[in-house]
């Protein structure tokens, strides 16, 4: 297939079992909704164009409780509007997929131009303590592969998953191979009252999810609730138990969730850590550097959150310097620096504006100056 990233994302969603999409068009994510509107009816799915992004996120949460795998797609301004609903999805442990195609902000910013300024928002966007799974593709192929993965993780961990794309991976048109066999994970469904819907004796446990309309008398609330969904708005223990479990069911499984590409030269003294569109520049910079006999290692994260600290630390132990190129003013670098625990010097390479990418030359120049 010669597909645009956004098209690959929509096609993958349907293959992963998505049967409900609600959204509001916004560049550079609109083609996802456009494609979903075309292909969902073919599989008896439902596409709804909503009045805004607040309605969109609430619609997909509702659809998920009605038993459907659901998705929305947006960009920065829409993602900001969705935050209240996303918090509700974390608190009620509602599986759903939110695709965010990053553009330049804050506010309306430069609507059609690419950036990577939502890295922190994707993790910390809504209030309170929780942990988020955030995946980031760097090609049309990964828009396909990671959309499937986003649904699978969402179903497995009963949590919203954010696919943090960017203008490059969303709008690039390139060959996409549909895997012969696509592994699809479905949520563990509650059939009766033998196990609570919102609690577990395991502090990292993932409770089974009931479906509305099947007579199981479900209470769903964004307020603190006990294991059967009853509100407890002041009991400290109920809150602690619920929120620490919601946090640890993700953070405690970071090694299962982590997905990354490692191109490690054991003798290299320079490392580069990247994600998303910037990684494609790094590929070229590394080819040119190695062509000149300069040894470099590269880590590229597909999973951004929970942040795979130990992988960065292992790299930091091998190299003297780590370069962190990104299209934001150091959001990603801040996390790399934290994870490196002072074991390597960190150099931030940033660029924002007009959708301009960091060039291979700019990375090479920094390497030459080390």
């Amino acid at each position: 297939m010669f597909w645009q990233g956004n098209v690959a994302c929509a096609e993958a969603a349907v293959k992963a079992g998505c049967r409900f999409f609600a959204g509001y068009p916004i560049t550079p994510a609109s083609e996802i909704a456009e494609r979903m509107a075309q292909i969902l009816p073919e599989v008896h799915g439902i596409f709804m164009q909503m009045e805004d992004e607040i309605a969109a996120i609430n619609a997909i949460i509702g659809a998920s409780w009605a038993g459907a795998k659901s998705m929305t797609a947006t960009s920065g301004p829409g993602f900001s509007l969705m935050q209240e609903g996303i918090g509700y999805a974390f608190m009620t442990e509602t599986p759903c997929v939110i695709v965010v195609v990053q553009r330049l902000g804050p506010a309306t910013g430069q609507a059609s131009k690419g950036g990577q300024g939502n890295f922190m928002q994707a993790r910390w966007g809504t209030h309170g303590d929780y942990s988020a799974i955030v995946l980031s593709p760097n090609s049309a192929q990964e828009m396909f592969d990671l959309t499937v993965e986003a649904f699978n993780l969402s179903e497995k961990y009963r949590t919203p998953v954010i696919l943090l794309a960017d203008e490059l991976s969303a709008h690039i048109v390139e060959p996409v191979k549909i895997p012969e066999r696509i592994v699809v994970v479905d949520r563990r469904k509650a059939r009766d009252h033998s196990e609570p819907f919102f609690g577990s004796s395991d502090p990292k446990g993932i409770p089974p999810m009931p479906e509305v309309g099947e007579g199981l008398n479900i209470l769903v609330t964004g307020s603190t609730h006990d294991e059967w969904g009853y509100r407890y708005t002041s009991d400290p223990d109920v809150h602690r138990k619920l929120v620490t479990r919601i946090y640890w069911k993700i953070e405690g499984n970071v090694r299962d969730i982590a997905d990354y590409e490692a191109d490690i030269d054991e003798k290299a003294k320079v490392g580069i850590v990247s994600y998303g569109c910037s990684s494609r520049t790094v590929y070229e910079a590394i080819d040119r550097l190695r062509g000149r006999g300069i040894r470099v290692s590269h880590l590229r994260f597909r999973t951004l959150w929970p942040f795979p600290d130990w992988i960065v630390e292992e790299l930091a132990e091998k190299v003297n310097v780590i370069l962190v190129p990104e299209l934001s003013l150091g959001q990603f670098c801040r996390e790399v620096e934290r994870a490196a625990h002072g074991k390597a010097r960190i150099i931030s390479i940033t660029k924002i504006g007009g959708g301009e990418m960091i060039t291979p030359k700019e990375i090479i120049e920094v390497v030459e100056r080390i």
């Binding site: 010669f2 490059l168 709008h171 690039i172 048109v173 390139e174 060959p175 494609r280 590929y283 291979p360």
Partner: protein, 177 residues
């Protein structure tokens, strides 16, 4: 082999579609290709570009720094992107829409009145296909047969007339060398 083609113009001229068709034709030819776009916030009228890279190897870096072929269908877009053309590059313009070439040293310049021909014989919106056919005729970077197939596969509306416009461009490219 890595050929970088930049097609630029104004939003609404079918610039991005032309790039997609070209990229798809290259893939159908058995090559690797990527297409990248850049456009403004406006629905129509802002400068936009469609970058296509064709290679016999997998394309890990999809950004054009200096293109081999620049196709321009508007003066403002040419002004913006002329410096990205390699010294040895080929410039192809719509002569009615681009009057001034703000650079002295250009190896090869080809022009035709694609939009006027499209208005007279086909539809104004099909000027992009005439340009695409003309560019392909001049450079031979993909086969005409695969371009035809790409137009059909991409489910372009009124594919048959678009293919005629494409063929018109190819014909004109041979007349004028």
């Amino acid at each position: 082999m890595r050929i970088e083609i930049r097609i630029c113009g104004l939003g609404g001229q079918g610039i991005i579609l032309a790039g997609e068709i070209l990229g798809l034709a290259a893939v159908l030819d058995g090559k690797y290709a990527v297409q990248m776009r850049s456009y403004g916030s406006e629905a129509r009228g802002s400068t936009c570009k469609s970058d296509v890279i064709i290679s016999d190897k997998i394309i890990r870096y999809p950004i054009i720094e200096n293109c081999d072929i620049l196709v321009s269908m508007s003066q403002p877009s040419l002004n913006k992107y002329i410096d990205s053309l390699k010294p040895s590059g080929i410039l192809i313009i719509d002569e009615d829409l681009v009057k001034n070439i703000p650079r002295k040293r250009i190896e090869k310049i080809y022009g035709l009145k694609a939009t006027r021909i499209a208005e007279e014989k086909y539809r104004r919106i099909m000027a992009n296909m005439i340009m695409l056919g003309y560019m392909t005729g001049k450079t031979g970077i993909v086969s005409i047969e695969k371009l035809r197939e790409a137009i059909k596969r991409r489910r372009v509306k009124m594919a048959e007339i678009n293919i005629k416009a494409l063929e018109e461009g190819v014909k004109l490219s041979k007349l004028k060398v």
